[in-house]
């Protein structure tokens, strides 16, 4: 409700509370057998949608990935495939 909102648009939470991936059509799926841990996907991701697991493999953060496929395009060993969402 309008009355519940502050007068100025302020927030006390960091902006990653906003999950911004609802319009994704294709999701990146990583074949870890082909991945060389080169981090190129992480470098090219225009959002903050790629994290790393404990041993250095990339993990897609699906709350933020909008399915732009830049990671799949840039991945040298072609370890990332774009799969249509259900």
């Amino acid at each position: 409700m309008e009355e519940d909102l502050p007068e100025a648009p302020i927030a006390t939470t960091p902006s990653d509370v906003n999950h911004t991936a609802s319009w994704r059509t294709f999701r990146p799926v990583i074949d870890l057998k082909l991945c060389t841990k080169c981090n190129v996907c992480w470098k090219f991701c225009p959002d903050d949608a790629i994290a790393f697991d404990g041993v250095g493999f990339p993990v897609i953060r699906l709350d933020y990935c909008k399915g732009c496929a830049i990671c799949a395009e840039e991945c040298k060993p072609k370890a990332i495939t774009m799969v249509k969402e259900d």
């Binding site: 409700m1 309008e2 909102l5 502050p6 007068e7 100025a8 648009p9 302020i10 927030a11 006390t12 939470t13 960091p14 902006s15 906003n18 911004t20």
Partner: protein, 391 residues
């Protein structure tokens, strides 16, 4: 109180000093330069203990003011024409973030062709940014209105940025006697800004960041409602200012000799002074003419215009700007305000004085005679130098 003979630009500078602004950030541009030059002198001499932030552009100047204002500082900047246009994105930010920045704007025509002379095209281009807009007629009015603008912008029911404009050269570089209120009078009228509820030092907060469709519209509606409240809050503030200084410039739409008038010309800025003399002369000839001055363009004085429309048969609107593909900006707004009202005086628009061309008494007289006695076009450009008839 003292009286000084100063330009409209210095009227702005003195108002900022009297308001005890904390932060000034500005970039020089003709014909605004003297405003911020004088403020820089005040700061350098210690007369104004403010932070003067030098920046590389008007865009950055406005950003500096927004950031300081969000933390509770009283902020001031000034610009003109191209500089105002460069600020455009940040003007939306200032209003959207509800930061009560006050800005002096010296109305100067927009290029190309390059011009340094006055018209209202620069500020009319900013009418949808959420800024309160005052148009000044005299150097005294500029100083008084700037002081009122601080209190209005910072009022808890308003919290919107405000610009106070003055016509280039006619005011900016013309000296007039101006009553400078005493610092004690201004302090009584304009106490220090209340602590900001926007951002707090030491607390992690975001201002104006991502908002989904579920909230955006409600935030915009808050601005719309604040702008509606601005009218009544301003009238109270001006009453209080008059109580302290003895001067009241007449609210949002001051009128002149409209009580028994059947024809009224709506004016803005310095053209009003010229038109007032014409009204006196035509009254001497027996014409029942009067004036209404758009002192604010945002909020637009809809209620005042509708009241006026109940009393008069003909309204002319003298515009110093033009909205391409439509008509003069003030003309379209006056027409919009009156269409839904029960009274519909005959309405006609006159576009004059673009790029610093003088709006002469003869021009104003012709416009009023045109309204009184002739069937003219709905909208016309006055004294256009053309082989074909102006239209």
């Amino acid at each position: 109180m003292t009286q000084l003979v100063i330009s409209g630009n210095y009227a702005q500078s003195y108002a900022a000093k009297l308001a005890r602004v904390h932060v000034v950030s500005a970039y020089p541009i003709t014909p605004q330069t003297a405003i911020v030059e004088k403020i820089a002198e005040f700061v350098a001499s210690g007369a104004l203990p403010a932070e003067y932030i030098k920046v590389e552009s008007e865009h950055s100047a406005m950003q500096a003011c927004i950031s300081a204002s969000a933390l509770g500082a009283r902020t001031y900047t000034a610009t003109s024409s191209q500089g105002l246009l460069l600020m455009h994105e940040l003007l939306h930010w200032a209003a959207g973030a509800r930061t009560p920045v006050v800005m002096g704007v010296v109305n100067r025509a927009v290029a190309p062709p390059w011009s340094i002379w006055t018209d209202h095209g620069d500020t009319m281009s900013q009418r949808d940014t959420g800024w309160i807009q005052f148009y000044g007629e005299s150097n005294q009015e500029v100083l008084d209105t700037t002081l009122m603008a601080f209190r209005l912008a910072e009022h808890p029911e308003v919290r919107l940025p405000a610009m106070v404009t003055e016509d280039a050269f006619y005011l900016s570089h013309t000296v007039e006697p101006v009553d400078i209120p005493g610092q004690d009078q201004v302090d009584a009228f304009l106490p220090p800004r209340e602590r900001s509820s926007t951002l707090e030092v030491g607390k992690a907060m975001r201002l104006g960041s991502f908002t989904g469709p579920e909230h955006y519209m409600e935030f915009r509606h808050k601005i719309a409602k604040a702008m509606v409240r601005t009218r009544d809050v301003f009238l109270e503030i001006e009453d209080d200012y008059a109580r302290i200084t003895g001067r009241n410039h007449g609210g949002l739409l001051p009128t002149y000799k409209t009580d028994d008038a059947d024809t009224v010309l709506v004016t803005m800025g310095t053209a009003t002074t010229t038109a007032r003399g014409v009204v006196d002369a035509m009254r001497a000839d027996g014409h029942k003419v009067g004036l209404a001055k758009l002192r604010t363009f945002r909020p637009f004085p809809v209620q005042e215009l509708r009241d006026l429309a109940t009393r008069v048969d003909r309204i002319g609107v003298l515009d110093r700007s033009f909205t391409f593909g439509a008509a003069g900006a003030a003309f379209t707004e006056v027409a919009g305000a009156l269409y839904a009202a029960p009274h519909h005086p005959q309405l006609r628009g006159f576009v004059a004085g673009l790029g610093g061309r003088d709006i002469t008494a003869a021009m104003v007289r012709e416009a009023l005679l045109d309204l009184l006695t002739r069937d003219g076009p709905e909208s016309s450009w006055v004294e256009l130098k053309s082989r074909t008839e102006a239209s």
